[in-house]
Symmetry: C2
């Protein structure tokens, strides 16, 4: 199968979106943006051996390749619209491609995202997905708007993806049922797109937690010129992680909660006057939104342990070049 | 240097473009599209060992990474506006990054393109650039509009990039001055952006020649449901390639002209009634635009040799998976 047959067979499903004038199969894709909207564009590159293991199931890789970008749209409060996928593959394995695209398109269809273009080449396995979304003009959430006194929230629960990775790497043990749940968080994260859209005009700043809570929260503080205090005891966690905290695994549990990446929950700030609105959003979407601390003037992030004492050192977030 | 310091130092030059609300340093970039325009989006992935050699000069890699995408915008008749760069690097080599970004930004500045985002990760060297351009609504050039009787044009001259590669691979020899010129075509291709914009409303179809003339022309014919005849004798070529045709190197010269990729010239169609307009564009832009054949009903591409006889076999264009 040559490159173009491969694209036609696995990626080109024809245009379903009336805003797509020209989709896959030209030098560029042509789309009609919605009047009165800003564009939000993000790209993520996933590399074998860094972001996923060679043995990872292709259907979950297809899901995750898109999910991490949808999560960026969620963090910006944007509605995802169109995606382009560049991928390097060591060979043309049709079974692999069928599974990968099944994972990708199943998620794309759920969020009404149309694949409009891409690039296919031979090389060490690498997936690079570009997502284009829309948001009403001026309404995008950014990292720069946190204000003193704002509440700090996280969605869902944190640390399960990192816990699953710890089990896979032999650094922790879990029962089969708990491991299956944690592993699903790692392999097939659920992007918080609906939450992001609802947070427009409510959140003062937002980020998705891909590298770990403290590191990602620090990005908001840096960009907003603020400090913050959060409480470990308030960070929402699954039952297995809660149990780990109580037992010998406290260090690991703290690392998962504070520095575990790959959960793709949102961390956001909102004024205390918005508490009722935030609670209503949580009810409407059936997503836990938990207040874990608050923003302050100055700089620096204080993380208080269960007794209220500041942690002297924080577990390190992921950094590709440190 | 960590990942974020690297991005700040080498890629984040602050916002210069008033249409950029949020640039590098958030979960996504936010831009304001121009009213009345369609968006044109393209992505290309360049892999070490496939698209460039490990020893390639980083400044030319920076140029080429952007140039191939600008060329896609040219083929669509779009004005390039914003770029996102995802890159995988085996290490954080500051000299390499300084040179690479110099090549990238020098070209970006010439075309008023703003880098608005990206992703940086460790891995086998891989550059994936996404370009977002704009074109007046409905005016994008595509591969689908060629009509029977249309003239077929190519810009500039073809084959020099492939000739340079042949010399680098020991399959041909050139004098130093000729090699330097050919190599510049290979390393630092000049995207035909101004030409693409001028061809709006004039060209019925267009493509950039990245994989080779016959293969790329065939894409237009496939999408337009047409056939075509072109003449080898009419294909514009540099003096060294012309000399090669006359000497023992005729097979190589034909391969360079018909199947040599990487020249990034445009191939386009226009009605015979547009000949004066095309000639005026060529004059205005000081770019040779040469008529090499014409479109016909049916399917199939006939390439005639210097005596008017159809070539029985065509040199093969590049295909990553054949």
């Amino acid at each position: 199968m040559n490159e173009f047959a491969l694209i036609d067979r696995f990626f080109n499903r024809g245009a379903q979106d009336p805003a797509v004038r020209t989709g896959i199969g030209d030098d560029g894709a042509v789309v009609v943006p919605s009047p009165g909207c800003d564009l939000v564009v993000a790209v993520d590159m996933l590399v074998e051996g860094r972001h996923f293991l060679a043995a990872a199931a292709p259907v979950t890789l297809g899901h995750k390749t898109l999910a991490v970008n949808l999560s960026d749209m969620a963090a910006m409060g944007a509605r995802p619209r169109w995606a382009l996928l560049a991928l390097a593959l060591p060979d043309c394995d049709e079974h692999w491609l069928a599974d990968f695209t099944r994972g990708l398109f199943t998620l794309a269809d759920r969020f009404d995202v149309t694949l409009i273009g891409g690039d296919t080449t031979r090389g060490p396995r690498n997936f690079c997905l570009t997502i284009v979304g829309e948001v009403p003009a001026g309404a995008a959430l950014t990292r720069a708007g946190a204000r003193p006194g704002d509440d700090i929230y996280v969605s869902g629960s944190l640390g399960d993806a990192a816990l699953a990775l710890a089990v896979l790497e032999g650094r922790a043990a879990l029962g089969a049922a708990d491991f299956a749940l944690a592993r699903a968080r790692l392999d097939t994260p659920e992007p918080r797109v609906a939450l992001g859209e609802r947070l427009r005009g409510v959140a003062t700043a937002a980020i998705d937690i891909s590298d770990g809570l403290t590191g990602d929260l620090q990005h908001i503080l840096d960009r907003s010129g603020m400090g913050a205090t959060i409480d470990v005891a308030l960070i929402p966690r699954s039952a297995p992680l809660a149990a780990l905290c109580e037992r010998a695994g406290r260090d690991l549990a703290l690392a998962c909660l504070l520095a575990g990446g790959d959960d793709y929950e949102l961390c956001f700030m909102a004024a205390p006057t918005s508490r009722d609105v935030v609670a209503a959003i949580a009810r409407d979407l059936d997503v836990p939104l938990t207040r874990i601390g608050c923003v302050s003037t100055g700089s620096g992030l204080v993380v208080r342990d269960e007794r209220g004492a500041p942690l002297a050192t924080l577990p390190r977030s992921f950094d590709h070049f440190s």
